[in-house]
């Protein structure tokens, strides 16, 4: 996996309460997009691109594959816009399509492209500066995430990174809310252990 240069802080996403506040606005945007308003669809893409890419990357690992899947999902959503129920939040509806697109792509992928870990990182070698340290931690987190079952990865990313509620994640993944809680719990336990080890190493 490639590690991109430190990106600028991503735009804040509208999770949880914020998503509900913006729900009406999003229903309007969808209605405009359905009527052929390109700017309205552009606003939706702008708003959800980062989340969609992270969710796809949680499923696929590889950033290029993830971007392709996120794009497929968003375009698929554009084609299915008339199926969206404006009484429900737009985010979970869109992310369900994106997650499905990523899962489909992972199933189709015959050769899994995984770049080997940096040997110095595996050996816990010296970390010359803070940027390198952050990159190394990010790499270890991605590796740890890749060890988790797919559903668990998506659940913890949607909950802890994107701020969606358990109910919304249940909607995205099509599983009971209690199962979402359990998946988030197990994922966190693994990731906390990793972060704890990292702090001790540091």
């Amino acid at each position: 996996m490639t590690d991109p240069p430190d990106p600028p802080a991503p735009l804040p996403q509208p999770p949880g309460e914020a998503a509900r506040i913006g729900q009406q606005n999003e229903a309007d945007l969808v209605a405009h997009a359905l009527a052929g308003d390109r700017a309205a669809f552009g606003t939706l893409v702008e708003r959800y691109a980062a989340t969609a890419r992270r969710v796809a990357r949680a499923v696929l690992g590889d950033p290029d594959d993830a971007d392709d899947a996120a794009q497929d999902g968003m375009l698929s959503a554009l084609l299915k816009l008339e199926q969206y129920d404006p009484r429900r939040p737009f985010g979970p509806w869109l992310l369900r399509i994106v997650a499905n697109a990523a899962t489909d792509r992972r199933r189709r992928r015959t050769v899994r492209r995984v770049e080997p870990l940096d040997p110095g990182l595996v050996a816990g070698g010296a970390r010359p500066d803070r940027t390198a340290e952050r990159r190394a931690l990010a790499q270890r987190l991605r590796e740890a995430l890749a060890e988790l079952p797919e559903r668990r990865r998506v659940a913890v990313v949607l909950f802890d990174v994107e701020g969606y509620s358990h109910a919304e994640i249940a909607d995205v993944l099509g599983i009971p809310e209690g199962t979402v809680r359990s998946e988030v719990f197990h994922a966190r336990r693994r990731l906390r252990a990793l972060l704890g080890d990292w702090k001790e190493d540091a």
Partner: protein, 111 residues
């Protein structure tokens, strides 16, 4: 960092969230957005092309049917039975002489 004593905490963990966000963020947000919108535009154009192509196919099919029908009618007209008179022919044709029976019947009445 939070402990596992709250396994089903309903709030996001900011430490895990921030670390995961950094780990998963692919960067170049605007470039990705532009890419998706460009592809969406291509899809729109492609769908219009498909509609127009569909209309064109229907038009070609209809033209072929009309041409075939016209050809059939023209061909049929050329090989029509020669004994069949048209309305102008019937009007212009000389009147036929009365039959002998009618002449006899008229002479009987006259007597």
């Amino acid at each position: 960092m939070k402990q596992d004593s709250l396994p089903f905490d309903a709030r996001p963990d900011p430490v895990i969230g921030a670390a995961l966000r950094r780990a998963l963020d692919p960067g170049d947000h605007q470039r990705f957005v532009a890419r998706v919108l460009a592809r969406a535009e291509q899809l729109r154009t492609a769908s219009w092309d498909a509609v127009l192509a569909g209309w064109a196919r229907v038009g070609v099919a209809a033209a072929m049917i009309v041409a075939l029908a016209a050809g059939y009618l023209v061909g049929r007209g050329g090989t029509a039975a020669p004994g069949r008179a048209t309305v102008p022919d019937a009007l212009l044709a000389p009147s036929t002489p009365a039959a002998p029976v009618e002449v006899v019947f008229a002479s009987v009445i006259g007597n």
